[in-house]
Every structure is written in C-alpha cells, then in structure tokens.
C-alpha cells in the first residue's frame, strides 16, 4: 500500500464519480417510475377495453404495453450499469457495509427478476393468452415493481439513517442485522414518497403526450382516454403526496437536522422559524428570499414555538452544500404545488361538468406537466442525496472515504455521459415512432402482429 498515492487518486476520482453516479441514478429513476406505474395504467385500459368492448381502449392499451416494453428495456440496461457502479465507484461503502445494507438489493434481485419475466409474458402473451389470464399476468409485474422500489429505497433510507449494526473500537462492523437495517426510521416515509412520485411522473408524462396530440386537433377516443386515465391517477395521488411530504420532512427533522437546515437554508437555531422561498445562501445567511413567518416551525413541529435546528449547530466540514439543497427542495415543492393546482382544476371541471377542461391553456399545462413532474422528482432526489453530504453513510462514513482510488477511474464519467446521450436520443426516437405508428413491436414481442380488427376480436373472445 502506498497511502499517499491512493489519497491523491481518490481525491481526483471523487467529483467525477459523484457525477457519474448522479447521472446514472438520475437517468435510471425515470425509467423505474414507468416500470412501477405504467403497467397499472396499461392493464386498467385493457380491462376497461374488454369490459366495454371498446377497441380504441384495447388498442391504446397495446400501444402502452409496447412503450412499456421499450422503457423497461432501457431501465433494465441502465439498472445493470448501476449495480456495477455501486461497487466500482464506492467500494468503501460496499466493502465495509455490504453485509448490513446489501440485503434489500438481494430481494430487489428477485423482484426485478419476477418483473422481467412477467414483462416478457405480458408482451409475448398479448394475443396468445385469454384476456383474463393476460390481465392476471400483469399483477406480478405490478406487485414486483412496487416491491422493487421498496427494496432499493430501503437501501437508500439506510444510508440516511444507518441502523442494524454496531461498530467495534477499530470501526469494524460487527453484529450486522440486515432485517433491522432494512426497516430503519426513514424507510417507510421514503418508500411511500417514491411510489407516489412514480405514479405522478408516469401519469403526468403519459397524459402530456396526449395533451400535445389534442392541442394539434386530435380529439378522438384514443386521445381522450390517453389523457384521462393517466391524468386521473396522477391527480388523485398529488394531494396525497403533499401530505406524505409533510411526513418525510418530519422524519428528516428528527433524524437529519443538518439536512433539514440546508433544505430551508436556516443558519440560526430558533423557535418561530420562518419558511424561506428561493434566495442565495452565503456568509452564513440567506439573502433575497421570500419569508413566511413561523411557517417552518409550524410545518416541522405543528407548533409556532417549536425550535428548528439551524446550520450553526453543525460543524462547517459536516454541512451539505446549502444552495443546491435549498433550491432543489424549493423546485420540488414549487412544482408539486403547481401540479396540485392543475389537478384541482381538472377535478373541479370533471366533478361539475363531467368533461376534460377544453381550454387550450389547460392542455398546455398538461403538456408540460410531464417534464415538470420529472424535474420535481429529480430535484427531490437531489435534495436528499446532496443533503446527506458530506456523508455517504450519515454520520459514519464520508463520501470521500468511500470512493475508489483506482487510477483512471474518473475517465468512466465521460464515457457514461456519451453513452447516456446516445441512449436518451434513441429512446426518444423509438417512443416517438411508437406514438405515430401503432404496428411497431416491442423488444419482448416476436412479430409485428398488428392490433387490427381481427386480432382484436381474438383478444376479446
């Protein structure tokens, strides 16, 4: 061992490794959302289609199933890269704590396996299984998608609130208890928050595709259902998500006060703490922000006299980068509120008039809601991941001590940037083609069996 050389290399690798991980995770998480929620929308459309004998709905479901296949394939390959990167980039984390928090990944291995199998069965079996058996084959896909989200988020929750082990005098892990590690204080709130986010991202994104079509004058059944089904799911989950946001903020306040202080860019520990929107944090103070008096104390403690811990109580070298965390958090909450408003508008019109709001402004809002929901989710992950810094395992292991010192590792970042640029372009091209030409088949299907009247009859029979 040549410790000096190793330290120098690790320092060189740290920033590119973090960016590589952020890019890989940030890309993969979008596709994971579709893996979790899209099967639900698809099988719902399929079920309604069979029930009403509505060919437009069945056809829509088939298009969605194919899009799901493409998105699942993209998610699968990006997920594979992630499982390599966990070890290649962060051996200090995996080598030391793999026995404590690696276990949910084993379970995720099973969940993903079941999901992959049933995605294959669902797409391959489109005209080969009876409608009933076919729709039932979606159930394992839906359950394993949600279970997989739970397992992966549980591992992340452990990094925020490490439990289920002891450290001996040398800092060696002893007495690892993987079940306890999986059910730490952050797990429940984080999982529910992510699952709802997945439904919102998928719902608003799919709806936005059909909103664009309607803005171009296509008002057929296909577009109406294509907008209505996903938007309804998303709109129902949005207010629930805001409630869950309150829950998760309280969990953060209890367990990671420095993260909460960074989210709010709060320096001074105080009662009657204000809620600050926007602004820039420097010289231990937030400038140019809009302040809502008492609101932060009310939100975190549900009591105006509640004391909120500020950054002053955290040593400077243990503080996260405040501006990134604060602004990302504001972006997430801001977009979430806007989506709530959109949902309220939609819900109200539907309740009073039983129709989709006809105003082009409504359709324009839906058209951007997909991208907005994705941005909100990415901002949320930025908040929690950057907010945990400088720790990779909160309070125990610093990120800089976990990165691999392997020489040349930083070059991987540039390769990953190039690969994801190509992959993103390809995914967009394929999905656009899929939206225009219904006879293209998904990777898991065999032939381009066109969903025309004849096959439709077969499927209904």
């Amino acid at each position: 061992m040549e410790p000096f050389q190793l330290v120098a290399d690790a320092a060189e690798n740290l920033y590119p490794a973090r960016m590589q991980m952020a890019l890989s995770l940030g890309w993969h998480i979008i596709f994971s959302c579709f893996g979790i929620a899209f099967p639900v929308f698809t099988v719902f459309a399929e079920w309604r289609g069979h029930k009403r004998g509505n060919a437009a709905l069945t056809d829509l479901a088939h298009t969605w199933a194919k899009a799901m296949g493409v998105l699942f394939a993209a998610g699968a390959v990006s997920g594979t890269l992630l499982s390599f990167e966990m070890g290649i980039l962060w051996p200090g984390l995996m080598g030391r704590f793999g026995g404590v928090f690696g276990f949910p990944f084993v379970l995720e291995g099973y969940a993903f396996f079941i999901e992959a199998i049933f995605v294959g069965i669902y797409l391959f079996g489109w005209n080969r299984l009876s409608p009933r058996a076919h729709m039932l084959s979606a159930v394992p896909m839906i359950v394993s998608g949600a279970a997989g989200a739970f397992f992966v988020v549980a591992a992340n929750a452990w990094m925020n609130n490490p439990t289920g082990f002891r450290l001996d005098a040398d800092g060696q892990v002893v007495d690892a208890q993987p079940w306890a590690a999986m059910f730490g204080p952050s797990t429940a709130a984080q999982t529910v928050h992510m699952l709802l986010a997945a439904y919102m991202v998928t719902g608003f994104t799919v709806a936005s595709v059909y909103a664009v079509g309607m803005l171009r004058g296509r008002r057929d059944h296909r577009h109406r259902f294509g907008l209505l089904i996903p938007l309804t799911f998303a709109v129902i989950f949005t207010p629930v998500q805001i409630g869950v946001g309150d829950w998760i903020a309280n969990v953060v306040a209890d367990n990671q006060p420095a993260k909460l202080a960074a989210m709010e860019a709060l320096y001074e520990t105080q009662a009657r703490a204000p809620l600050s929107l926007g602004g820039l944090y420097y010289d231990d103070e937030l400038h140019y922000s809009i302040e809502i008096p008492w609101a932060l104390s009310l939100l975190t403690h549900h009591d105006p006299d509640g004391v909120v811990q500020g950054l002053e109580d955290t040593p400077v070298n243990e503080q996260p980068p405040v501006n990134v965390v604060h602004l990302a958090y504001n972006v997430m909450v801001g977009i979430g509120s806007a989506l709530l408003l959109l949902g309220f508008l939609f819900g109200w019109t539907w309740w009073r008039r039983r129709r989709i709001p006809t105003s082009p402004w409504f359709l324009r809002a839906v058209a951007v809601s997909g991208v907005a929901a994705i941005v909100a989710m990415e901002a949320g992950w930025t908040t929690t991941e950057v907010g945990r810094q400088p720790w990779i395992v909160y309070g125990i292991l610093r990120t800089e001590d976990a990165v691999s010192p392997a020489p040349g590792l930083f070059l991987g970042f540039y390769a990953v940037v190039a690969i994801y640029l190509v992959l993103t372009a390809l995914t967009v091209i394929v999905l656009r083609r899929l939206a225009r030409h219904h006879d293209i088949s998904a990777p898991q299907e065999l032939d381009a069996t066109p969903p025309d009247e004849h096959t439709e009859e077969l499927a209904v029979r």
Partner: protein
C-alpha cells in the same frame, strides 16, 4: 458445508444459469454478427431474434443476482474484485448497455443506416462483453486480485495469459451454446435447413472449444500454477465429467437429437464452471482470502438463505411458465388462428 459455502454455492448456481442462458444469448448475437450480408443472413437473424426476444431480459438478471449476493455476503472480496478489475467490468457493462439497447430498439427503427448501426452494435457487443467477463474470471482464477480496495494492478490483472484464455473460452462457449440452442429452435419453427446450418456451426465450435481448452491447460500450468494444480488434482472428476458430457453432446448433435444435445452441452459448460470453483476452493481470492474470511456476519447469511428459499418459491414457477409459454407457442403455432395476411409484416 458451512453457511458461507452454502450462500456462495447459491451464487454459483446463479453464475451457471447466467453462463447458460445469458451465454446462449450472447452467442446468438455472435452468430448474428457472422450471419453474412443483409439478404443472406436475414433468415438466420430472424430466427435469432425469435429465440431471444421475450426472454433476454430475464436471462441477464442472473448477473445482477450474482453481484448482489457477492456484495452482501462477501463484501470485502467483492470490493477487491470490482475495484482492481474495474476496467473490464466497466467495459462489459457498457457492452451490456449497447447490446440491450440495440436489441430493444432496432426493430422499432426503419431507416436502413440506423438499423445497420444498431445491428452492428448488438452483434459486436455480443462478442466483446463475454470476452471481458471471461477476462475477469481469468484474473480472479489466476490469483491476481489481492484483498483490499484497488490493491491489485488495474491493467495486468486482466491483461494476462489466463485472462485472455478466459475471454476466448467465454466467447467460444457462448457461441457453441447458442448454436446448439438455435438448432432446436429452428426445428421447432420447421426450418430444418437452418437447423442443419447451426448444427454444422455447433460441431465446428465444439471442435475449436475443445482444442482451445486443451491448449488452455498448458497456459494455466505456466501462468496460474495453483489453478492448474487444482484442476489436475481435486477437480479431475469434474473436468472429466465436462469432457464426457461434451463428447456426448457432439454425438447427439451429429445424430440430430437436439434436446439431449442441449442437456449434455449445458452439463459440459456447467462442469467447466464447477471445475474452476473446485480448483480454487477454499479460496475466494487466491491465495490470500478464504471463503470463510470473506463472509459477512451470520445474521446476513441466514437472511440471504431465507430470501433464496422464499424467492425460489416465486421465481421458479414464473421462470418455468415463461419458458414453457415461449417454447410451446412459437410464432408458427400462434399464427394458426390468426389470418395470415395480418402476421406477415415482419417476415416478408
């Protein structure tokens, strides 16, 4: 058998499954590469696409399985391997991305140049990915991975005679398995002439693999003496089984009996992998770290065994269902009840 050995054994079952199913998948891509010009190779490529379409994702989850078991159950050994061998592993991961994406997307793209680009990406990455994975195995098996994070040489750990042997053998075995599997698939689709073509390829690849294997033993004697000692000592029965099964597979192939040929081939390939494990037992990192030393805590290993048992209850029936559904209702039979003019789109 200790708890740690049991968990590592399950990991090895996953590795064998990846070798067989993922390997055949890679091999199919290699034959896609060698199928010739666009027109001449069209039927072969169609068959290849039919054979791996619905199952390719499931085939590759085995690798994830192997990785997560290693990092949870044998964290320190895992960290040592992936950091020292990060270059071939990263390249293999890129290969998997290129391959998966190209395969998934190429049928949705109609522009000829784009299709050619994606087809080439699929076929080329099918060739290089198993090579890098084989090189990784060679690095581990020849004892070039010391314990500790990135403690080994990040270049010579995989650019060495045993790694080259591992890479070449991996490519050959993938190609061989795919050819054998494709024989049966071609017959099921009623394309006997294609089955014959793949039979000739399978027999040819079997010959080359056999020669490379024998030559490889001499490479190991010089480059990886501990592995050589194990293979020619403790592991002799397993190596022998591999040879016998390999010969039997060739005989079945020559007779045109594709189902027993598949089984015998799978057995031969599994035995090669088991032979490696037996030869380097009890070390996980030759010659410094044993399986017991690398194993994480008892509670973790027990939790994993619980997960394996419960998981298998869900996984095995699901996998069987997928393969049965897929093998029984190939496109030919599925089309019987669908009017012909609506199915011919992809096979002009």
């Amino acid at each position: 058998m200790t708890l740690a050995e049991l968990v590592l054994g399950v990991m090895f079952v996953g590795l064998i499954a990846y070798g067989l199913f993922g390997g055949a998948d890679f091999g199919a891509g290699i034959w896609d590469l060698l199928a010739g010009g666009a027109r001449r190779g069209a039927r072969q490529r169609d068959l290849i696409e039919h054979s791996i379409g619905p199952v390719w994702e499931a085939n590759h989850v085995w690798l994830i399985f192997v990785l997560v078991i290693l990092w949870t159950g044998f964290s320190e050994a895992f960290a040592a391997v992936v950091t020292t061998l990060y270059i071939p592993l990263t390249l293999a991961a890129f290969g998997m991305i290129a391959r998966g994406a190209a395969f998934a997307f190429r049928k949705s793209i109609t522009t000829l140049s784009m299709q050619r680009f994606l087809g080439a990406a699929f076929a080329l990455s099918s060739l290089v990915t198993p090579f890098f994975l084989g090189a990784v195995v060679g690095g581990v098996a020849s004892g070039r991975i010391p314990p500790g994070i990135a403690s080994g040489n990040v270049v010579t750990s995989w650019v060495n005679p045993t790694s080259v042997l591992g890479g070449v053998m991996a490519v050959l075995v993938c190609a061989y398995l795919a050819a054998v599997f494709l024989c049966g698939d071609a017959r099921r689709e009623g394309e006997e002439d294609l089955a014959d073509q793949f039979r000739i390829r399978a027999l040819g690849t079997a010959g080359v693999t056999g020669v490379a294997g024998v030559a490889g033993l001499f490479v190991l004697r010089g480059d990886a003496p501990l592995l050589w000692e194990g293979l020619t000592g403790r592991a002799v029965p397993v190596v022998g089984l591999s040879v016998v099964a390999g010969v039997a597979a060739v005989v079945f192939l020559a007779l045109g009996r594709y189902v027993p040929a598949r089984l015998a081939s799978a057995l031969a390939v599994s035995a090669i992998l088991v032979g490696w494990a037996v030869a380097q037992y009890p070390y996980i990192l030759v010659p410094d770290m044993t399986i017991e030393e690398a194993a994480t805590g008892r509670a973790t290993l027990q939790a994993m065994l619980v997960a394996f048992s419960v998981g298998a209850v869900f996984l095995v029936p699901a996998l069987v269902f997928l393969y049965v559904l897929f093998q029984r209702s190939g496109p030919a039979s599925a089309h019987e009840d669908v009017p012909r003019e609506h199915t011919g789109a992809a096979t002009p």
